[in-house]
Symmetry: C2
Subunit: 163 residues, 2 copies
Amino acid sequence: MTDDDDKLNKQGQNQDGIWLHCSNSAVRRASRHLGQLYEDAMGDSHLKGTQFSLISQIARSNEPTLKTLADAVVMDLSALGHTLKPLIRDGLVELVPDAQDRRAKRVRLTEAGTAIQRDLTARWQVAQDRFDKAFGKERSQELRRTLAFISSDEFARAFNGND
Amino acid sequence: MTDDDDKLNKQGQNQDGIWLHCSNSAVRRASRHLGQLYEDAMGDSHLKGTQFSLISQIARSNEPTLKTLADAVVMDLSALGHTLKPLIRDGLVELVPDAQDRRAKRVRLTEAGTAIQRDLTARWQVAQDRFDKAFGKERSQELRRTLAFISSDEFARAFNGND
DNA sequence: GGAATTTACTGGCATATACCACTATATATG
DNA sequence: CATATATAGTGGTATATGCCAGTAAATTCC
């Protein structure tokens, strides 16, 4: 084993990389890894982790409009529209026009969507428990709070120097 | 302002959401936000943040094979191949067959790619400096280390209970 | 009240990213 | 050495996600 090899495993995964210098890369890289770990832990479920997250957020919300939901999950409005398409096609989600504002559409889970969300929640909890165990329960909650801060408008203002 | 409104801004962004309970959602949500903030901070550059990260990692590596690079950035091998296509098409990256292992291809920046990577680094540093300022320099480094841990094989083993 | 502006959503296009099946090559095994 | 197996990449398909241009409806401003 050479000196160089000291710093990396056979995949080079621990080598000094851009992710140790760029917070953006670091977060994306972690999201890829977590995506895989959660996906595997939840087992074959017909739904991707992202889709489960989305219907879970819809379930927690009070028939949000597309715009409100997009802001909540920090997603581009049109990206949200695209992402919802497979869920609508498969009958888990429906869009209903808002009674007051005819521009707006409200996002709602169908009965099937509600049922699937409920069923998958148990499997998601398994994955989340594994994360908490591996990372530490306290630390895990603290990390989520930190990430929520990074995802906030307040952070965007600080980042852009508009204090 | 009602009681309910206390917990959310007009976008509902601070409302209790799945991201406060699911580490996977939390990381993905943060990656979407940081993607936007870095992208904006770096200005119009013909390259996406992800593409800059990738060529920066290639620049840091010693002509890695696709597999080695995929492992380093924690990306599926085929996903990496797809992601590289626009960069190859635009002449920033080239794949050269490995001399020893005829299955393997090594990833290399072209002169144009090297030049662009160098030029964009200054703009990336602006974005990273803003992040460090808004988040705290020490805390920022600590976060990147934490995310690197979450992205590691060691964490995957702990997550999967294979200690 | 009507024009100008803002807001909500849609559709098209491009990149990001994963899984699967398939091919080619290398390595291990009897 | 011949075969079995493991490894590296490719191409197809599907979802994820963002930007831009366009439409429609609400709001603002004379």
